[in-house]
Subunit: 327 residues, 6 copies
């Protein structure tokens, strides 16, 4: 039996995740003897955003005898701009319309959100902590897209590996809940971690965040890299004033090098206010992971060398000098 | 080399899609000798919705020596209601917090949207056509969740297989664009399809939808099951008035049995109005596929038999008689 | 018996359309021997707008022994600006307050709307097609006022004649409905019309507008001047995207000289968007014809050489150097 | 030369106020030999309202060899309900589409506003004082329509005559401005008017309305029927509190039978509040006269006995049992 | 020299806080010999509210030879209802219009706010803590009015004395800031206070509120009556979730009798939510103290036995059976 | 017995208007032997405004052995800016926190409103007429604060005296109601007043304001300084148009030197419009008197020479170079 519902790479490549009507179309066109008609197809998005997902499209089409042009991975695009063009016999790629659009729609949605988060944070580092909100099969896809869009690092192990980075993470509430005290947890963590790993300790589990931060700073001394604030909404969340107060209290106690890392329900509005209040870095989860895919549409624009398309679209190739030859 | 970025079933089961801080927690707790502490963890959602994703959680935890209680797959849940409880030594499942929450958050988001679509359609059949908006690795997960939530069928081949159904689909614009005429395409399709397959023909590619519907109905006669309207937004989309007019014209021409299937940017508001105007069935795409995951949170509530949790939560188990023993 | 309820020119000149209290006033003042009191009356509008209707006021007052100053026909005016002044014995004009105000209020309302439509269309020609929304007795008044305000032409035969123009019009849906096909109707029209009459054919009666436009362009060749889009709201109305697509398809087929004329529910917002999308000319109906009259008020400001007026107004003449002597 | 721009009854009957494209259609159809095609045309409104204007349509079509069904004059109608149907050879009535729709659109707009004013006034009498806002050629049409909708009387002499009533009116500011005092004006008016004419005196020209009312009541004694309040907006308009105070002061001084008549910028909201405060009757001007015409559309629905119509409409006759045979 | 700017009781009684134009009026009327004219004056409010301040009006008018009727102290009143009537020679009270209205306007404003707070709290006790927002001369007036309106007690020493109560208060942040620890402060306070004084300790000065509450409960044992939450806005304020969590943690630790007292920026909306979450009592400050005075107007309604009043009011006494004879 | 509820100067100085918990704090700290701890306290407002009330704070603290720094009386301040700092042994001033904050909060609220009124009036004189809305004990405090904020004069006798000015006032409606006619009242007032007192007569008691103004101007001739408009809301209030008309009528009658003074429900929006329309001066009541106190907070920031404060605030002195040494 199958353990999980997600599709394997082989199933994707075999076309099993496509909409069944493309199978029916293939059968019909083959019976009519026109399945190999030479066509030009173009893909355009419905909104502005950041282009991502191209390597998977390329992997899917490589070796199938079609040409592919596209914007470079990570480019900004405008609503309705043509972001990719495929040319070749229809039978070589028609079946893959569903996964091609899916690769681009989902990764572009995540990359766009990550770029907006980064801009809102005024360029301070943003880390993607959204894996817990998406199916694990796409957690690495999502975090890779966030890195394309501008995230500094990712928490998911596989995503970091795909990007040739080390995964980024501190410690969860569970560590302190099991050990029963934040300072005791911080000391245990400090003993175990290799020296090069920065010590950033979560300080909102049991006590007032400012009090706990000072306790941890005293306990770890110069070894402490930062503190993480993740105050839940039930307690008012992390406010800009809390960041300002914590920064001042750390400084007054001589801990000027201890950074303040904030996580928990961060949106562009909150990122701006918290960055302005002195927070140093951010873990962004659902703002990135819940970003809606950016709807992509593929249209045939030429058939057998003639402009032809459906009602509502303009026949023929749409010139876009930003497209680059990929295949 | 790896072709796609999505995680395989083996990578998921090996914990490679989890956030790295759970690895660090495991190492720290093991060094402290408390990794096997007996804990109770509870999962709750942030909004109302429909519960889905449980079979994958069960598959992940089976055989790991923990107990699991949960709502039955497909149940409605309220914001902050406990939907699942895990009990056992922390080391047996702590690492999997990220994928467990991801399974539930993503599938519950999609199931919830599907249920809302079905209700808006007044119980008329809704088919999930959203695969093109999501990464192909999760297309079957998404469509399966939509079936749990109330969709009648799915277009994605693998999703239908997982649900023991036949995939559902008509024909895309591409078929008619290559063949050059809708009636010619309809005839070709009719010749090729097996007899039991219903003939539902897309009628907005070239001509006025009403005119094309009548041409197709004349051409296929009693063999025609339905017509599909997918008029693009550039042409005003499918309006309730168009459905009313088309229904009347089909009836006047004696095609009372031809059904009207609508797709394209359907939301609950539009589903209600179109169902009321006489549409018979619907293909819903981005409303389901773009549904945000429903944020799920896992909290430790007991450690070593004692109520304990973090600030902002109430320590101890939260009674919920709706939970059913799963493992 | 009388066929219609509208007043004839003679009835208007005889004061039969005035409010009866002016008759009672005349009787009372005559009995008191003061009916010939020398007075100054001023007229002001309640909103900004375009001044129209003066020739009818002049015709009514000519030969009655009063002086008249006014803004030139077609001037812009500001709210509360004095737009006309009458001086003379009260008995010579007091009875006509109702029709004087009515001439100015109604024509200024229509002229103002026409000017706004013209500005919204970015200077492209706007034709007044609103006669069907007003009583036929005032249809020529309305369309003449629209010409004063900036419309390029009018559809109503009598209005055009009053303005020394040819009436403007293409062909209605009825022609094609009776002949049963748009191309057949276009050919019949082409045969009958004199050579100097431009052929602009309505293309939304039966078929998709783009398809029909190309059929008509093929059928009439160089003789075709333009196509008219009047798609009803039930089919989404005329969208800017439809204009863009139609323009592109006409151009690709070599019909670059065929213009696109749009009608149907046009407002300033839609005029701007459609002009920007490439439409060449517009037929504007209810936006002009339904324009509310611009409320005009006449106040006595001097009686027997002394400043006198009612509570709420400032006694005496209001200086306005823009007024020109008319009578 | 022509004095005014409005069309005479003869010009209307001769089709000179129609849109020119109906002339062109007639010529084309005659050349094709199908001008006498037997057709069914239906007329429907775009909004809810009160049906008016039918007698003029009947006068125009009588004797032309067509059948006419319609709602009874003064009926309520719903948006999109068929309000009239014409059947016969197209050439007999096609030319008159413009004036037919214009009769109905304009009178129905005015009748609808009058009915709303009457309802807002809680059934107290409302008089139409709007002639000064419309072209004098349609002043009697407008006031007649207001009477159909529910107005109690009209100020325009010709309108009242058409309705077989006496015109209604009090006295304007001009009377008092020329005579120099309200009491002096009231006395003069009282001397001149025939005994059966009710004396209602305007009391806001010079003095505080309550003070002036009491002066007039003392001067005219039992002869005084009512006072009219028409306080201009510059002085705060007529407020419900002013009506209450005036009523109390009249009663305290023993003038219980003197009624309070209000005019000036009355809308349904103000009518409700003033009626509730004790005002007895109302003169309504621009709310009725500025009412937008209710857009009416005529569609061919059958040609030569077959259902046929344009895109966006449903072919064939629309059943409506409320229609009554007129011709 | 004078230390403070507030008026003494003697200055008030001497008329020194009145508007100077009443002095001028007195001089003018005396010179005319009509200062002793017998008049009836009535007082009405501009909004709904709770009537308070009557004892001070009574004290001011007693012995001056006038009659006084009023609503009973603490009554609800409606906008424009007559709440008091004074009858007698004008010279005996005319000078005091300013202080009479001031007594009633200010106390009624505060009493009204207190009643709204009490209703929002669902009947749980509300204490007035607003003295710090008003001038000390009126702090006792304000808190007395709050007691009239429904507050359970007051913090201001003098106000409690005026009401024959003990003042209510716990301990401020300053106590703990000087002693350096909340538990140490609580113990000191416990040693000093007399046994009958309930111990309610402020728990948000240094530590997490739940942690501090449990420390204090352990330290004082059964002697602890309650804890006070006053979390500042910079830390998210007191949320309903914090109250729920604190209640649960106190109960789990066996401190079921310890009550939860909330203060800090409480409005009716927050009072409702916090009462519903389990808070037991409330300290309300600026919502009561910043309540705008309820504007009171005094009008002469009779002079020398005849109805007479100014424009805008109805002459003569306004019947109100709820008025009670006071003087 | 006590006549009024307000506190005397002696009661304020004795600490009787303070919140009782400061008494309990004193007892506790004395018992602990730390009552004389050296502390620094700072006061900050919650909103922007104008600083007032300092002389009363100074009077309260003088001679108590503490240092005081503050902004100068009448300064603008920003939200959260430190406006005052007190340093010394806690026992010397801790008890007075309630009255200190009350002095500043209430006077700053009134001064801020007065400044806004003055700015809205474009610098034309604004007089404070709000005494009738506040308790008489604080009427002089309020009007003095208004003078600090920018009012030109005050109506309350005691307030004017405190400011070394003459109180400002014209005549109330009562004068004219008792005398029965405005002109008669104006003549009586003119006979009695000393020559240097300007004659400003209230003109809305009985008659139309413009008519009454002209009657009064004729009666008093050059002796008339101004007229006051105070038209009640029941009659539409004072509108800018009324001011314009009155100005014009006075000028036309040769009374160019008669000023127009407006009172009654004036807000910044109305002040701007009326000043622009030509009003010369204004009496502002409830806009100033109902201004909410500006919430002031006092925090300990140092104890025994060390930065220390409560959660939510930043420990230690906040630098503010605008503070000036007072004590
Ligand atoms: Zn957290
Ligand atoms: Zn999250
Ligand atoms: Zn489509
Ligand atoms: Zn889609
Ligand atoms: Zn049309
Ligand atoms: Zn129209
Ligand atoms: Zn008037
Ligand atoms: Zn009017
Ligand atoms: Zn606090
Ligand atoms: Zn407060
Ligand atoms: Zn007044
Ligand atoms: Zn006031």
């Amino acid at each position: 039996g199958r353990r999980f519902f997600s599709a394997s790479h082989e199933e994707i490549a075999a076309g099993l995740t496509t909409d069944v009507y493309f199978i029916k179309t293939r059968e019909t066109l083959r019976a009519e003897g026109v399945a190999e008609a030479h066509v030009v197809a173009e893909i355009f998005p419905r909104e502005d955003g950041v282009f991502a997902g191209l390597p998977e499209v390329e992997a899917l089409l490589r070796g199938r005898g079609v040409k592919l042009w596209a914007l470079p991975e990570g480019s900004n695009f405008a609503a309705r701009e043509v972001v990719a063009r495929i040319e070749g016999p229809y039978d070589r790629f028609g079946l893959y319309e569903t996964p091609i659009l899916g690769f681009l729609a989902s990764s572009s949605g995540w990359a766009t959100a990550a770029r907006r988060a980064r801009l809102a944070a005024g360029g301070k580092p943003v880390f993607c902590f959204g894996a817990r909100h998406v199916h694990p099969a796409v957690a690495p896809v999502m975090e890779r897209a966030a890195l394309v869009g501008g995230a500094q690092g990712a928490a998911c192990i596989l995503a970091a590996k795909l990007a040739g980075q080390e995964p980024v993470g501190t410690v969860p509430h569970a560590l302190f809940l099991i050990l029963g005290d934040t300072v005791q947890g911080a000391r245990a963590y400090h003993r175990v971690m290799p020296p090069e790993e920065p010590r950033t300790i979560l300080v909102d589990t049991y006590k007032d965040e400012a009090e706990e931060s000072l306790r941890v700073a005293e306990a770890l001394g110069d070894a402490l890299a930062g503190v993480r604030l993740d105050t839940p909404g039930e307690r008012g969340g992390v406010t800009p004033d809390l960041v300002r107060e914590l920064r001042a209290r750390l400084d007054q106690a001589g801990h000027r090098n201890v950074t303040v890392f904030v996580s928990g329900g961060l949106t562009p509005e909150r990122l701006s206010a918290l960055a302005e209040a002195g927070a140093d870095a951010f873990g962004v989860g659902s703002y990135i992971s819940s970003a809606a895919p950016i709807d992509m549409t593929m249209d045939l624009k030429e058939v057998a060398g003639k402009p032809r398309t459906k009602r509502g679209r303009i026949p023929g190739r749409t010139p876009n000098p930003r497209l680059v030859e990929v295949l």
